[in-house]
Symmetry: C2
Subunit: 326 residues, 2 copies
């Protein structure tokens, strides 16, 4: 039954996204924004807002605009991240800056940030201060996470702690914020809103670790990305940082040299790095780590004073997101 | 007396800007934001917020955080505009993207947008909805104006109407919004807040026309910019668009060809274009136009139901901004 409810909510989100009141002019400002929003994503964040609101028996109509605002913000970050990462493709389509150009992606992103606030501001005025503060702090954390991620580009070694701090900001913070805002709109207790935030932060980290894993180990036909993209772009992923942490001096040198070698072709590089990862058992170590964060998250979820069935449905939804076929 | 008050407010703004709670880390996120905020600008927008609030006897402490938020937003737009315009210098210093790089300027700008909302959100909760809506709509208009300005780069002819629409969004909207938000915080009537918005929009247009004029006709030692920068970067300014409107077919061809000729050196190009402008009397036509918008603005200002002395002081402040020595 809860699953049916989730599908209904997902449909509502998709319809509301189609209805976002982007103007027609200036065309090169709003067309890329529309394109960015029609990306066929899973809409995890707005759904989590609606689910969290429902946990406390809040009404969908009180949370839907804010949920859409969070999704607009999320897509804005993708538009700007793709510029910074020089990423040509996203979900099988050219990224905004590739389809148009950097300036257009930059400015369309900016207006999406403004639009996100337009939607956030539609919340009932009695909830506005708290929703706004939670959202703004979440947004700032996402920027901080992205900066740490960029810092890593010019760092040879990234410790596992630094890596986790980065993803807890870049990915964890918005998932956590989306959930917390749902709680605020649903008038939860402060305690519940803190626990749901921690649940979100942990599962956000789990999602990101899984993304790292899938980038290197997934079947490209299923995942829609080229396998090994992170290796090719020399990203300091969890897999890479963990391999550096675990390797002996000799192997460490080999991995670092191989990762930074621009003379060998990409597919050989990916193959060689994966071979090293396999020697160090990185795949199952990462899987264990994902499980650890997922379970840590669940511990916080279990603390919520909400209906068992509703909590269980959220647990199942998140579990399905985590256990993706590789 | 009011002038003394303005200096006190300006000092307060400067001190509050120094106190903005940017974190230290990530360093490459917040250092460029701090640098951008310490630009020695005239802080016109936050001052207008405080003045408008004072017109209705609002308290400074109720408006100062919002005023700072508006200034942070304004500086964010400069950071991003400088990327889009490839502008190497601003107020005698390298622009953020030149001093660091494009990605850093992009992301620092984003976090400044978030910080702007953090400060806007500090307003008394009874005013929050209205202040927020006014600010967000202003922010969106600024993006629209910047997009129209970028559109002009690939357009040979920009009509005077199109040009004015662009600057009323890019420059007028934020000046108008800064004033209107001051009104809202000062609990003005709706009528007064509409009139002050129109006052702001008109003087914003006057400011921008004056900027166009100064760019081409000012003494570089006084103005701090290279004379003719707009001509060198082929900007579709009011002066250019007006000259195209007024020139006969033959002269029009000459101006267009000269403006787009990459083979002649910059100083000759500037000299030749100014010669054409002079033949068409563009300098005094622009001065007339500035006066027209300034006076149109004043008509709206005069409608406000506020103390005569306070209104007069605002009028003088704006007049001093407009009549800059060329």
């Amino acid at each position: 039954m809860e699953n049916n409810k989730y599908s209904t909510l997902q449909e509502l989100i998709e319809n509301k996204i189609k209805d976002i009141n982007f103007k027609n002019e200036p065309h090169l400002l709003y067309e890329p924004a529309r394109y960015s929003m029609s990306n066929g994503g899973k809409r995890i964040r707005p759904l989590l807002t609606l689910i969290a609101n429902d946990l406390f028996n809040g009404k969908v109509e009180d949370a839907i605009d804010v949920a859409i605002g969070i999704e607009i913000f999320h897509n804005f970050t993708l538009v700007h991240d793709d510029i910074m990462d020089s990423a040509p493709m996203r979900r099988g389509r050219p990224t905004v800056y590739k389809k148009w150009n950097t300036n257009i992606a930059l400015l369309s992103g900016d207006v999406m940030f403004g639009k996100a606030y337009e939607y956030i501001s539609k919340v009932n005025s009695s909830k506005l201060v708290n929703v706004l503060n939670s959202f703004t702090q979440g947004a700032i954390k996402v920027c901080e996470g992205q900066q740490y991620d960029m810092d890593f580009e010019s760092t040879t070694f990234v410790s596992i702690d630094e890596y986790k701090k980065m993803i807890s900001l870049k990915t964890g913070a918005l998932i956590a914020t989306a959930l917390q805002i749902g709680c605020i709109i649903g008038s939860s207790s402060i305690e519940d809103s803190i626990n749901i935030y921690k649940f979100g932060e942990n599962i956000g980290i789990a999602f990101q670790l899984q993304d790292d894993l899938l980038d290197t180990y997934s079947n490209p036909d299923k995942f829609g990305k080229i396998t090994g993209g992170d290796i090719i772009s020399k990203k300091k992923t969890f897999l890479y940082s963990k391999s550096i942490e675990l390797a002996d001096e000799n192997m460490k040198k080999q991995i670092v040299n191989m990762y930074n070698d621009d003379t060998i072709n990409n597919s050989d590089k990916v193959k060689n790095i994966i071979k090293k990862y396999n020697e160090l058992n990185i795949k199952s170590i990462t899987e264990e780590e994902i499980k650890k964060y997922y379970e840590e998250g669940l511990n916080y979820l279990k603390k919520l004073k909400v209906e068992y069935n509703k909590r269980k449905a959220l647990e199942e939804y998140v579990e399905n997101l985590i256990v993706r076929e590789i």
